[in-house]
Amino acid sequence: MISYEFIHKFSDVIFVGLFFVNNKLLKTMSNSSLPNYLEYKGKYKGIFAWIFSTDHKRIGLLYLYSIMGFFIVGAILGLLMKFELIAPGKTIMEAKSYNAVFTLHGITMIFLIVVPGIPAIFGNFFLPILIGAKDVFYPKLNLLSWWLYIIGAAVAISSQFMNGASPDTGWTFYAPYSFRTQSNVLPALIGAFILGFSSILTGLNFIVTMHRMRAPGMKWLKMPIFPWTLYGTAWIQLLATPVVGITLLMVVAERVLNIGFFDPALGGDPVLYQHLFWIYSHPAVYIMILPAMGIISEVIPTFARKAIFGYKAVVISTLLIAFVGYFVWGHHMFTAGMSGTSLFAFSFLTFLVAIPSAIKIFNWMATLYKGSILLRTPMYWAVSFLFVFMIGGLSGMVLGALSINVHLHDTAFVVSHFHFIVFGGVGFAFFAGIHYWFPKIYGKMYDAAWADTGWIVFFFGFLLLYTPMFYLGIAGMPRRYYDYVPEFHFANILSSFGAFIMIAGLAIIIINLFRSAKRGKKAESNPWAGKTLEWTIGSPPIVENFEEIPEIK
């Protein structure tokens, strides 16, 4: 049996452990006369050469390792839930642990992984290269963002180890339960607040970089799609994150000073809390998905050997998603007792926001038309991204319909929707990206056969894991349920088995990548015959990316 304390200890070990693995990995050769960024010797030595480096590429890798560390914790927590849910009643833990586990799972997955994820890792690494710059506009601020990220994460995680219980509110921190519970909600909130700052600073940095540092000749409409999606994302980070910042601060004030903003016992309004929370958290889902779409928009053209179909339409739809995405937050509150007018408006806007996503899907498909398609690991991931993203997005349509949402809200259907789209979307795009850019980042090639095996195991595990949850939701199983009625047993078994298969796939993928970073064959500078700027420079790139800033015709 897994006790509450055990979960604490266990996450502790993983966090500390993963942090120190990275440094040993990186010994590579350079194919330029200048030292590449991995070998470069700066003012500091050892680990300090990384954690005090302002090189955007090193910062990108710092994020990669820290996020991977959290990610493994989050994934194992997910697995624990699946063990628990394999049968009704108690299987491996108490209700108390279960509540703490899904809360921590949600917080790590959302705030520590997919929100910062792709912009912080690939954005940092490739944005300057893709627009022909030597670094971001504020390199020091960039480093500060990483430090804030780590500090925020540490504060949030510290809630697990302090006296008292781990937070058990769910990642949404709904009032007034988050005031009532005696668990350590405060550090989790403060951690999320700091993480917000980190995210804002990254966004700010990227916008200025794109405005001011594009290589000569690179007009706005010559920028690759990935930077464009980062641009849209950055604006959301800038304009939505402060709202959740202030909300969390108000919750802190309410807990400490007893000002009744949200607690009805003090005259506050709990639904107002939900408004403020989702004003951030809905746009935040587009913070997650837009950069993922950006990666897909790079991978598909490269492997179809042609330029993306309808460049302008893709750019415009990116900006539209970012914009309309601000005004649909209420679809998370359809049963919370909002007025009829707002229900109508929010449902309507929710359906509108699907259009730009649809445009993107169609353009990606059209890019494949008459291409000369090379099926390699990154392409497998990209194509399966299309599939799972469609499922996730289309199930979002079902949820957006008012009457159906009443039935499906807060059920396993929602859980399935967002795993398909968050994890299917962002996760698959992340794997597409890491396999696509791996040769550039490390100057090494991974073992393609293992990578493909990992993909297929993972993909089918994924489908088996989450598809039954659609059924469970329709049948009426509420989410955040530690225990369930026997009717739901069979689908839950299927789902749990899916999780075990998927984890096996994940293990293959990660081990393959780690081994290859160390021992892989040397990679060429342009293994996929890509057309964007990162493929014109050496693998791995030199410290300031370009010996000479390129001129774009």
Partner: protein
Amino acid sequence: MEETKEHKIVSFKTYIIILFLLISHTALSVFVTQIDLGNLSVIVALSIAALKSLLVFSFFMHLLYDKRMYAFMVAGVLMVMTLVLIITFLDYGF
């Protein structure tokens, strides 16, 4: 990208005039809200505040003299903010 463009130097006189306008509007809003206008006083006070901030934005913060882009950005951000406020109020006022 080196920026060599000349910056416009705003004269002290302009600033003083704006300051004068700002202070007189403050006085006006205090005055108007002292007489009882009911709900209207909320609207008047906030309109005056909006006018004042418009002055600050365009003169003190140089939106009138800088690149157009900044003015557009500010307008866009304020628009998002207002829309969010209005949409929130669909749940309360209607």
